[in-house]
Symmetry: C2
Subunit: 392 residues, 2 copies
């Protein structure tokens, strides 16, 4: 078998939005570990999630994340199965439960800022599950192309448990560049951020957040696992009987934060292979200089790509009209509709893969996550220039 | 890198209970596919879950399962993230919802048969979530060592949506060998079975079940994915508003059966690598003769192991006292407590790995899932004989 196939590959120029590109060296190491892991006679996917080597994978991944994001002692890191969707469902139960615990059974409101399709889905889910949702901003009328200043958002009442934002909207390519301070956010209202598509791409002041969560399969791993970083004071829950008496629905046990945390993310069977990949990706980031280094590269990548697209304003259109909020991860753009197929065809011929926009918005999208090299982006820039020159 | 490491391994003699052994050839193929999948420039874990190759992985896996288990047209196959725990949580919401849909908003009861720790956890979760649970049998007083005949179970009232059984209790090593017929199960009460640790080990008459589900990580894959086989008439749900008016809690959207099924198991991001492994495992089973062939081997394996243990009745003790219900997958046994460490030490020296029992029950457990070869079991039998002879 090994005489025909190999674990080598030509470095891909791959711009898929997720599941997304991972470092080849990480995948190679994971491939070997899938067959035989360290001193075991079997591979990493075959060992008990409560065995010593599995616990070490979990602990090492946590420790890498703590180092990379400089996570303070006030916060806890844990993992659960699922992605963004299970994330936003489980957060509303747990945070409303915790708010009730801290406020004599009072049911808090959940504030949502809608800046694209993911924050919209999150708010809809909280409403669907029966929680009391307050939409404080919805940029639909701006076609999700800008974020108004916090001073223009609806004010948040003090009986609100948390404000939920999607820090980077993968579909619409819009990313926050600052977070609400005490001018906007009342004391005691916690900030919750979905960072599924931009975690570990930039420095974040974790102390400012109640919860940060991120599905692994965009910037840092394969599908199946979600990272949670939670302020420790937000973990505790009322008893099940108390929740019932308050009229707060109970979260399925696999997503009950105190249970998951008390069991070191292995109450139920953690997908240990997915966690192992996350460990390898984070270890590699640390080796390569940490967040500061990757952030500089990510910023350079998005800078040269947006600059190229902006050179042809009558040909390429950037739906995120405010340059400040253009995503460093998902560069969304359109071009004349009749040339879209040609753009995809010719880019594919040059081995620039995965540029088609999300089915819900159309156009093009270049996702330039951490694993996408500056070299790949330079090749894309060259093509962007060439295509405009030949077709404008 | 490839000059030092290799994708070969010595065939393990591995008896871990889950995550568990997988065929080496499957892992090798998956390892190559992790780096570069078919015509893609990237690996199977890096492609969109809605791309053609990903959809083909999902469809092929479904098709393999339909062939292997002879699943009739009356039933639908789908996948969701998670394992047994997310499985038993999501089933109660969906089946009680469906019952209400078919019965003018009436809230049905959920009957549970407790024959070990997994069925116990399932019943507790349904109760915890606020559903109306009826325990029809609990074999705790039999130390989960036998299953009384259905005629001795509590009768099931007609306003019951389903009867839940755990077909094979992984921790206690007890497995059903027949299923309740119309003598016991009233018409319209659906049979739900957790087959997480014995799916694809034996022929099953799927038409008799309302739902069969199985976490992949024991007999057929790595952790992160669960298989569901559901009678099509049980899929439909009331609207969210109807559910609220009935007082039935809503399931998180990622576990709402109609939504998952309408999106071909990719409403949210399916862990496509885990699904790919499942596809490879099921394809290999088909190649090797299907269920009939594997069932014959599995029965032979458990037969020789139980026979060996039974030869030394004053030395080895089998907690499942009724031989009929001894699991073909998880062979649980004890020996004099003071010799346990020695047994583990000496078996490990012979490269017989993973024999320690579950922390909640102690003793020994040899999990002899599909991927464990008859040869491995013969080596274990030899050791079982030798250890008794030397120490009895």
């Amino acid at each position: 078998m090994s005489s025909i196939k190999s674990l080598d590959r030509e470095e891909p120029n791959y711009f898929g939005a997720g599941p997304a590109l991972l470092p080849t060296s990480v995948l190679q190491e994971a491939a070997y570990d899938l067959i035989k892991y360290e001193q075991s006679t079997v591979g990493i996917g075959e060992i008990s999630h409560r065995s010593k080597p599995a616990i070490k994978v979990i602990d090492d991944t946590k420790s890498n994340l703590i180092k990379l994001l400089d996570i303070p002692d006030t916060h806890e890191v844990f993992f659960m199965q699922g992605g963004g969707t299970t994330g936003f469902s489980s957060i509303v139960y747990n945070l409303i439960g915790n708010y009730a615990k801290r406020n004599n059974g009072k049911i808090g409101k959940a504030a949502y800022a809608i800046t694209g399709s993911w924050s919209k889905k999150s708010a809809q889910e909280a409403q669907r599950l029966g929680f009391n949702v307050d939409i404080v901003v919805d940029t639909k009328d701006l076609k999700y192309g800008d974020i108004p200043p916090y001073s223009q958002w609806k004010s948040i009442s003090k009986d609100t448990a948390y404000l939920y934002v999607c820090d980077n909207e993968t579909v619409h390519g819009i990313e926050y560049k600052d977070i609400p301070t005490s001018d906007y956010l009342p004391e005691g209202v916690e900030l919750v951020a979905d960072m599924s598509s931009n975690i570990l791409s930039k420095k974040v002041d974790v102390s400012k957040y109640g919860v940060i969560f991120a599905g692994a399969q965009k910037n840092i791993g394969i599908a199946g696992l979600t990272i949670y970083i939670i302020k420790k004071s937000l973990i505790e829950q009322p008893t099940d009987d108390e929740l019932k008496s308050y009229g707060i629905p109970l979260v399925p046990i696999a997503f009950h934060f105190p249970t998951v945390i008390a069991n070191n993310s292995a109450y139920n069977t953690i997908p240990i292979f997915a966690c192992h990949i996350l460990k390898l990706v984070t270890a590699k980031l640390l080796e390569n200089g940490g967040i500061k280094q990757i952030q500089a590269i990510d910023e350079e990548k998005s800078k040269i790509l947006y600059e190229a697209l902006s050179k042809y304003p009558t040909f390429y259109h950037l739906p995120v009209t405010n340059p400040k909020y253009r995503s460093n991860m998902n560069v969304v753009f359109t071009l004349p509709k009749e040339l879209e197929d040609k753009f995809i065809k010719e880019s594919t011929e040059k081995n620039l893969i995965g540029l088609k926009g999300h089915r819900s918005v159309g156009g093009m999208r270049a996702s330039i996550y951490n694993a996408v090299s500056l070299d790949s982006v330079k090749k894309l820039v060259e093509f962007v220039n060439e295509f405009a020159t030949n077709n404008a």
